[in-house]
Amino acid sequence: MFGMNRSATSVAAQLEECWYVALPDHVIDLQWAPNGRQLLAVTVEGLVVAIEDLGERAQFRSVGQHQLGANAVAWSRDGQLAASGGQDGCVCIWSGGFDSAPLTLRSQASWVSRVAFSPRRDVLAWSAGKSLQLWNAVNGEVFYQSAEHDSTIADVAWNPDGSAVAVVAYNGVTLHVPGKSSSPRKYTWKGSSLTLAWSPDAKYIATGDQDSTIHFWHVKSGKDARMSGFPTKVLELTWHHSSRWLVTGGGSAIVLWDCSGAGPAGRRPHLWEAGLGKITQVAFQPQGDYLASTDHEGILLLWHLADRQEPIAACKLSAAGTGLRWSPDGQRLAIGQANGVVVVFELQPEKAPV
């Protein structure tokens, strides 16, 4: 681990490794509990692991298993509920910690790609193959099952006020509003979107697409801007808390889109040359201006919006980063890796040069 020697820098910080744990295989998803003291992680082979962050060290234990493999995890807003979804078509829901067996909801579909709790209510959304399902934690009922989308759903995300949930599949974005009798709103594009992210002000839905493009959907008007030029399909999206900036991967460079004013259309994005490896994860700090990225070569980079020329810190990981999550307070960074390692770093102000 090393900080970079810099001249005339406006921002300086280091990443200090706190601890790591080694899970048996590829970490496919991980999420911080809202209190920032626990992580829930799943591996591609289906292991569900609860990790307790004890500051300088960590304890972990296996709490569940998805046959055939796991895909995703999520926490409810108050941290009382946690959920995981897998290739067995099951969603497991734990309440009040991991001491008792989870509630398991089975669907006919073979693939639960995402689980997502509403940021406002105790409602869990998940994708069961091509259908979106909503579950009410208060009465334990599945109260919404959407019609089938045009392919297996690739991603699911609630809007910031928790009133609607957007999914992406083949042929674009569909916005479902629970409790409304009107049919879901379609943002149609003949192509395959793989991931989506709401701008924090809910003005835009950004999607990363199979054909090496991204889309900015203006949620109200339904108009879209399609941005091409990426070397590869785009799976990495993260919004700055101001909603002005979207950062995307889709190659070996970090691409920064300015969405202020009339939006990103017609503006050239900023490119931050990161290194040789293809970017695998990008994540803005929840309330701050730091951005973290990982790549295929296992390089972790820390960037800052105020200084866009080069990274302000870099670390070599033992494998490619597969999940990159800031703790809710923005002070810790958890990284899941392709070799099963989960490592946590702490953001520290720059120390005086030796």
Binding site: Y20, V44, S151, T152, P231, K233, G277, S318, T322
Partner: protein
């Protein structure tokens, strides 16, 4: 943290075999055979229907076909979304297997499956399409082959074709079917199987081996158009034999008789080339009642009249092969011995004759010595694929470019093209071999276009 690099860029691609074939052709039987054999490979299987098979220690994942069109529905850019998702997931557990098998549904178009490996760079960088294996139900395929695009495409896309259920048809039917399939896809290796029993090495890990093998055969073999419809081998004692014909659809027929070294199918096959040559030599009129000898002459046999007889004088005992322009059955023709006993050929074969060659799906092979001019070739291929991409299912080739000491090998699916420099030519003569498999291909235009690219 340890320093053990788990480099995802390690230059080792996982080979993938795609298994196609109509419902009932034997895909599940073959899959079970592959999984049960002691081959030392750990195979991940993507099944079109989940739960049909399941073997301990193997990774079996169910998939339901999801077709993704890209770029406004261009068929060349159509991929399989379900495979992108599942293969992407499998790449995250690469240490679990050494090989991937994809079973498609009977009606699946192999194009989008193959294109997925070209169009998705994440998959293309970590996996390679080793081969498409197509199972053909020898008994029932003829019911579908005429009007099913799927069957034609499955045959056209294949690197290996298993003619399965051979126990349910006669060897003559098999020969005819094999000739027909070969005319559609001359680059595929054809194996005859029963209960899908085949050596695993013939279908997995074909690699570049099969490509060179297919292309290094005699170029004539790439264009199996025969001027005759039938041949039959008889093992005869010396003596006098009589050919008897009843009225049929044609007034005359070309015929050629030649001695064979072995009284076997192989012995007959060895004479095919000389027969092709004989059929292009000047014809020798042969009116009814003639006495004929085995003398290398190409006969034009008159067939107008009732119960026409021709006498054959055989001086030496041995195996003799007759090649005929039309099928003898069309004239209820028989060969009889001196006692008037009708003789059955020891082996016989039907050929797909060129004058009936109306297959929509065909192969065009080009084999020519000389060096290619790279810019000319690129321009020609770009133009060709832009105009005929949808009709060209597959292409494969080994090329000699001017100013390069290395063989250039390539393969393509529709408009997608993947090529690289291979080993040096060394002592081997520099030559170009390529094959196009597609629908409504213009053989002449392809040959001319390619010839114009020579330096």
């Amino acid at each position: 943290m340890t320093d053990t690099a788990n480099s995802p860029t390690a230059d080792h691609k996982v080979p993938v075999t795609v298994l196609t074939g109509f419902l009932g052709a034997g895909k599940t039987t073959l899959l079970n055979r592959i999984l049960c054999q002691q081959h030392g490979k750990r195979i991940a299987v993507i099944e079109n229907e989940f739960g049909e098979i399941g073997v301990d220690n193997d990774l079996v994942i169910g998939a339901e076909e999801e077709i993704f069109e890209m770029n406004n529905g261009c068929i060349c850019c159509t991929v399989r979304g379900d495979l992108i998702r599942i293969l992407g997931n499998l790449m995250k557990r690469r240490d679990r297997f050494d090989y991937i098998l994809i079973e498609t549904t009977g009606m699946a178009d192999p194009g989008p499956v193959a294109q997925t490996f070209f169009m998705d760079d994440e998959i293309g960088s970590q996996m390679s399409l080793d081969g498409v294996v197509t199972l053909v139900d020898a008994k029932h395929v003829l019911l579908h082959i005429e009007d099913s695009d799927e069957v034609k495409e499955q045959i056209a896309f294949a690197d290996v074709i298993l003619l399965n259920k051979t126990d349910l048809v006669t060897s003559a039917e098999l020969d005819a079917l094999e000739a027909r399939i070969h005319a559609m896809n001359a680059a595929a290796r054809i194996h005859r199987t029963r209960d899908a029993a085949v050596d695993i090495d013939k279908i997995l890990n074909l690699g570049g081996f099969d490509l060179s093998r297919a292309l290094e055969t005699d170029p004539k073999f790439l264009e199996p158009e025969y001027p005759f419809e039938w041949s039959g081998l008889y093992d005869l004692a010396a003596g006098k034999y009589t050919w008897i014909f009843q009225p049929g659809p044609d007034p005359t027929m070309g015929a050629f008789c030649t001695p064979a070294v072995h009284a076997s199918e192989a012995g007959m096959r060895e004479r095919v080339e000389s027969a092709v040559r004989a059929f292009s030599s000047p014809e020798h009129e042969c009116p009814p009642g003639s006495e004929c000898r085995v003398d290398d002459r190409f006969l034009q046999v008159g067939l107008e009249g009732e119960a026409l007889r021709y006498t054959w004088l055989i001086d030496q005992p041995g195996a003799y092969v007759w090649f005929t322009e039309h099928h003898p059955d069309e004239f209820a023709a028989v060969l009889t011995d001196e006692q008037g006993q009708a003789l059955e050929p020891l082996v016989s074969r039907e050929y797909k004759p060129d004058h009936e060659h109306d297959e929509e799906v065909t192969s065009v092979g080009i084999a020519t010595p000389g060096d290619l001019d790279l810019p000319k070739f690129q321009n020609w291929l770009r133009e060709l694929l832009a105009t005929h991409g949808p009709d060209i299912f597959r292409m494969k080739g080994i090329l000699a470019f001017q100013n390069s000491n290395q063989r250039y090998v390539f393969q393509g699916v529709h408009m997608l093209f993947d090529g690289r420099e291979d080993r040096p030519w060394g002592d081997e003569p520099r030559r170009n071999s390529l094959i196009f498999i597609g629908r409504n291909l213009n053989r002449e235009a392809l040959n001319q276009g390619f010839a114009a690219c020579l330096a």
